[in-house]
């Protein structure tokens, strides 16, 4: 197989434009504030496109289609909840958080509880969730490069893309990437929608494609039969009945491993589905790299309007990836044969456009490749800024060297960017055999059991104490991290065959371990309430003022007053 010039050209243009914009803005961002939150002066239109651009990662662009193709209906929960989790953010968290005004979530944690210790705990979770989220982006990069250059090893793709973005972040900071991410959103939208419309014009619309997947075997569809030659019929392809069923391959996996009948498996599937919904919906509201963006709005009204636009922008986007999955099943069943990499279903978005044939097919495939680049580059830059911000701003600037000059901090930001970039590349090398989308789902589960309960209770309940918040966040977050990692190890590591067999014999435990949000969230919330009640004496003395700052309309100017009083010596 040769390198397709169209595919290569489109991908190169994407990378070069991204780098050029990064270098161009590098000259403009001078102060530390420029680097961290873009001087807080980004307009609603730019900011909502930038948030969407950052949010739509490799998991959304490639992973959702791949997962719909491999699992069927169950995978639809991912795109829907990715998009709708924003509603929770808007309803409960976006407004208060913005009014409180702090650079990062650790800033909020410290300001709300007057506790530098709590800042350190919160920083750890920025790093946990951030690095967990970078792994699938790296996987996406490795897969895409291996598609463009057939035969290129996975690790080369990961290393090259990781190095390029790290350089970009170290030079441009956040100001650069606001612009880049806004542009990348529109690139991704274009790249996912145009090929779908062309393919639908050629092979029939969404409904017709789905209609081909009949549960009854006696209705062979014209689409399926003309395209699917017998030798391409893939062994790994799920049967139409299981694929279209609401409780399909994804949610029944633990029960299936235990050898239960489909009827017995249904309660486990229902539980799995609910836990997945909780993880994704609440997890969105707790993603540190998304939350930091709310501070780039000039005021709370703009923050709310931004969220509305983000929901529309990403909602429209998420209609498309499942169409790729459905068409992939009908048109490219050979993708099921490969276990991972481009041969696997994660490559469906990149390869499917080739079915249009000839130059048109190559151009369309080039467009989706460019979109994939935009996807993992933008999300990875955003993550890198937030992880690097946590290291440079919190650990260095606040904990290690509080007296450092702005110049020193800026230099430290660049150094930290390089360290974090290198760590992400190393982590990315370990996840070649995982599905992109599943990895992201786990990052959401950890966010849903740590940050979400913290943010929710500390904005709405004045009785929460530092000890309560820290206990709940640590217990919820670490327990779900541990169970998720245990299922990853059980599936991948031959040394853990015993654990795998044990999980197979206990489908209920396996379901709960793989999707921990349904018990992790109540655990975290419960611990926060109980421990806070027990340590009632340590509620911050000026909690009423803090709550007022969180909730009072900004036109009353309470935030300004609060800052002034806190800066007065002796207060």
């Amino acid at each position: 197989m040769q390198i397709d010039p169209w595919v290569l050209a489109f991908s190169l243009v994407t990378v070069v434009v991204t780098l050029w914009l990064g270098f161009r803005s590098a000259g403009k961002s001078k102060t530390a504030s420029d680097f961290f939150v873009a001087g807080r002066s980004v307009s609603v239109g730019w900011n909502s496109a930038a948030i969407s651009g950052e949010y739509l990662s490799a998991a959304s662009f490639m992973g959702v289609a791949g997962m719909v193709m491999s699992s069927g209906y169950d995978a639809l929960w991912y795109p829907v909840c990715y998009a709708c989790g924003y509603l929770f953010l808007l309803l409960f968290i976006a407004g208060p958080l913005r009014r409180f005004g702090a650079y990062t979530i650790p800033d909020f944690a410290e300001g709300r509880f007057d506790s530098p210790l709590f800042r350190k705990i919160a920083v750890c979770f920025v790093l946990f969730i951030g690095f967990f989220y970078t792994m699938p982006q790296m996987k996406g990069a490795g897969v895409t490069l291996a598609y463009i250059f057939p035969g290129l090893p996975y690790w080369v793709g990961v290393a090259v893309v990781g190095a390029v973005i790290t350089l970009n972040v170290a030079l441009g900071g956040m100001k650069g990437i606001t612009l880049i991410q806004a542009i990348q959103y529109w690139m991704k939208m274009f790249a996912i929608s145009v090929p779908v419309f062309v393919l639908m014009a050629l092979f029939g619309p969404y409904g017709t494609q789905l209609n081909a997947n009949r549960t009854a075997p006696e209705a062979p569809s014209a689409i399926v039969e003309t395209v699917r030659e017998p030798q391409l019929r893939a062994a790994a392809m799920p049967a139409a009945a299981a694929w279209i069923s609401p409780f399909g391959a994804l949610t029944t996996k633990p029960a299936k491993a235990a050898g239960l009948t489909p009827e017995q498996a249904r309660p486990y599937s229902l539980l799995y589905t609910y836990s997945l919904i909780v993880a994704l919906v609440c997890g969105t509201a707790g993603l540190p790299h998304i939350l930091v963006r709310f501070y780039t709005n000039p005021d709370g009204v703009a923050a709310k309007k931004t969220t509305m636009w983000v929901m529309i922008l990403i909602g429209v986007f998420y209609v498309f990836p499942p169409i790729f999955g459905v068409m992939g099943r009908n048109l490219m069943p050979e993708l099921y044969n490969g276990l991972s990499g481009v041969k696997g279903t994660d490559g469906a978005v990149l390869k499917l456009p080739l079915k249009a044939g000839g130059v048109l097919g190559s151009v369309l495939s080039g467009i989706t490749c460019a979109g994939a680049f935009a996807a993992f580059m933008s999300t990875f830059s955003g993550l890198l800024v937030s992880i690097t911000g946590a290291l440079a701003h919190d650990i260095y600037g606040r904990i290690l060297r509080p007296q450092s000059s702005p110049h020193e901090r800026l230099r430290m930001f660049k150094l930290c960017a390089v360290i974090c970039g290198a760590t992400s590349i190393l982590l990315g090398l370990t996840v070649e055999s995982f599905e992109v989308n599943k990895l992201v789902g786990w990052a959401f589960a950890i966010a849903a059991t740590s940050y979400f309960p913290l943010l929710f209770l500390s904005t709405w309940w004045r009785g929460i104490t530092m000890k309560g918040a820290a206990t709940g966040m640590l217990a919820g977050g670490l327990c779900s991290l541990a169970t998720v990692v245990s299922t990853m190890v059980a599936d991948q590591n031959p040394a853990a065959a015993g654990l795998k067999a044990w999980y197979a014999a206990h489908p209920l435990v396996r379901t709960l371990a793989e999707q921990p949000a349904i018990w992790g969230l109540p655990l975290a919330l419960g611990l926060m309430v109980v421990v806070s009640k027990a340590t009632r004496a340590t509620v911050p003395a000026d909690v009423r003022r803090k709550m007022l700052v969180l909730h009072a309309p900004e036109s009353l100017g309470l935030k300004q007053e609060y800052i002034e009083e806190h800066e007065t010596p002796g207060h």
């Binding site: 209906y73 639809l76 929960w77 795109p79 829907v80 998009a83 709708c84 924003y86 509603l87 929770f88 808007l90 309803l91 409960f92 407004g95 619309p205 969404y206 409904g207 017709t208 494609q209 789905l210 209609n211 549960t215 279209i244 069923s245 609401p246 409780f247 249904r266 229902l270 589905t273 609910y274 919904i277 919906v281 009204v301 709310k304 309007k305 969220t307 509305m308 929901m311 529309i312 909602g315 429209v316 998420y318 209609v319 499942p322 709405w460 003395a541 000026d542 009423r544 003022r545 709550m547 007022l548 909730h551 009072a552 309309p553 036109s555 009353l556 309470l558 009083e565």
Partner: protein, 101 residues
């Protein structure tokens, strides 16, 4: 402690404000949550109904994969309008109370 004693800084105002905000958020969140949580139940208890084909789509796929997005946009639009109006009202009311006191 809290230095100022006027209405804006009072307990009564904070309670009222938080109560109104929470009521609005919970109402919108519940509308969204009920639909999201009932859909798996329908799939569980009425699988035949949800598998009915509508224009090629199984009903449940049509709801989740296509119709759910506009539903969420409507909720968020309503929420933003009401919450901005409510906060403007509260701010004005609180300032009037302050002037009277």
């Amino acid at each position: 402690m809290d230095g100022r004693q006027d209405f804006i800084h009072s307990e009564a105002f904070l309670r009222r404000l938080k109560h109104r905000q929470l009521k609005l958020s919970v109402a919108c969140g519940a509308t969204f949550g009920v639909v999201l949580l009932v859909l798996p139940l329908l799939n569980y208890f009425l699988p035949d109904l949800m598998a009915t084909r509508v224009g090629g789509f199984p009903l449940t796929w049509l709801i989740l994969g296509v119709l759910f997005f506009p539903f969420v946009w409507i909720i968020s639009y309503v929420f933003i309008r009401r919450s901005l109006r409510m906060e403007a009202e509260e701010a004005q009311w609180a300032m009037e109370q302050n002037r009277e006191a």
